[in-house]
Symmetry: C2
Subunit: 267 residues, 2 copies
């Protein structure tokens, strides 16, 4: 059972996990160093704990405590209770739906384990935007993808904003990082997946055609700005596009991934 600890000093050192949440660079180093991540919002906090993540602590305004009492009951870490105004002072912004938790990261599983039994897998190269990473996890989960693999430099799916946009899909979808960027796609091919890269290439075919008849599918997405690296583009089994009207900027990666997942789910 999490102890309820009422605090009135926003500088209390026990609140260190929750400071300056808008400072992305600071947060990235702090969270990596301490092996933690933050969940924001009562629903997402609940999903993190229900998915088995251990809470270091919670931080919430009084009115959120009751609705989360079963979540607190199964957690060891303390629950710091502050007024909403003080929480805003600590975190640097107005917290959406009042509750936060700081949770322990877990060791990432191996690729083998993540792929076990999976028929449809998303593979993200170097997405930089946490919002997009969250959106891709959410669309993939909704549209029937079983797992997600991330290149070494892809943005963190356990960053607060990724989790929030993804509505916690990162807690329920098996995922890990690929250790070897260079050999990633040939390795998937050897494991029996057909790798289909979404990219504007001379030999790209419409996505529906690219996934037709494919059993185990690895759908490969590149970064927001420059798309896939040439290594990944070249080493994929197939290249695919979403057919679009001429002269229009392409879909953003969140929209493109939703469309591609939909097309793939119907193969």
């Amino acid at each position: 059972m999490a102890d309820l600890v009422e605090l009135s000093d926003p500088d209390d050192p026990r609140l260190a996990d929750y400071r300056d949440l808008r400072d992305v660079e600071l947060r990235k180093s702090l969270e990596a160093e301490h092996g933690l991540f933050l969940a924001e919002g009562a629903k997402v906090v609940r999903r993190a704990v229900e998915a088995g993540y251990d809470a270091r602590s919670f931080l919430m305004a009084p009115r959120w405590v009751e609705g989360l009492d079963d979540v607190l009951a199964r957690s060891a870490g303390p629950c710091f209770v502050l007024s909403e105004a003080l929480i805003e002072q600590v975190t640097g912004f107005h917290v959406h739906r009042g509750a936060l938790a700081s949770l322990h990261r877990r060791p990432l599983p191996g690729v083998e384990e993540v792929l076990a039994g999976a028929r449809s897998v998303l593979v993200l190269e170097d997405l930089v935007d946490h919002t997009n990473v969250g959106a891709v996890f959410r669309s993939g989960a909704a549209l029937g993808f079983d797992a997600v693999l991330l290149a070494p430099r892809c943005a963190d799916p356990l960053y607060r904003r990724s989790i929030k946009v993804g509505m916690g899909a990162v807690f329920t979808t098996p995922w890990t990082r690929i250790p070897d960027w260079y050999g990633a796609l040939p390795d998937l091919s050897r494991r029996g997946f057909t790798t289909v890269a979404l990219t504007l290439s001379d030999d790209s075919v419409p996505i529906e055609e690219a996934v037709a008849g494919v059993d185990r599918l690895a759908l490969v997405l590149g970064s927001e700005g420059h798309g896939l690296s040439s290594r990944w583009e070249d080493s994929a089994d197939r290249r695919a596009i979403i057919p679009m009207r001429a002269g229009i900027d392409s879909l953003n990666v969140a929209a493109a991934s939703a469309v591609a997942c939909y097309a793939a789910a119907r193969r």
Copy 2:
């Protein structure tokens, strides 16, 4: 030809159009009152002017002037030139890709005019998030939709953030507001459109099935939180869903609209 006016005082009254860009409520009332809207980023500024919007003025750091000189040459309003640090003081944030323009809104066209020749139309009820409105315009344009109709309370597609997320699709896609919320969908039916509402309803069918064989299509999307009003849900010709895995939160409206547009484009 826009006069270049170098300013060094961030409080200069000529910069009034550009103040406090992060204050959404202030901006909404200021922009409505003055009949203006803001475009942000060199590419989007260019697209606004090329689409025929008249600039009241421009605001940019020195290094953006040369790349936009043809745009400035065809505009009458002045171009205020400030350092990037001073621009940040005026606007309240770091301006992405350095250039801003304040442009005159134009009277909205009638529904008749917007629908002329259109085969695929998006109809948005009460979306509240400018990011989503921009994303829907962009996906619609990319995937072959010809026009957009907005309910009276839908968020503004000419708000700075809508425009930016939509990459200026709002400049090239015919759109207007529907004057009569209550009768909107029956009116579209009378005009020869089949109205298909994306909504979780007892009689919803998969989107692909709902659009099959439809000639003139009006695809109807509801707000982020509560979806469509019951009036719109009930008065649509057909109700449709995107088939999803059980137990997963639905797609967000930007992802759902991309998928629905894709399915509709292939009807």
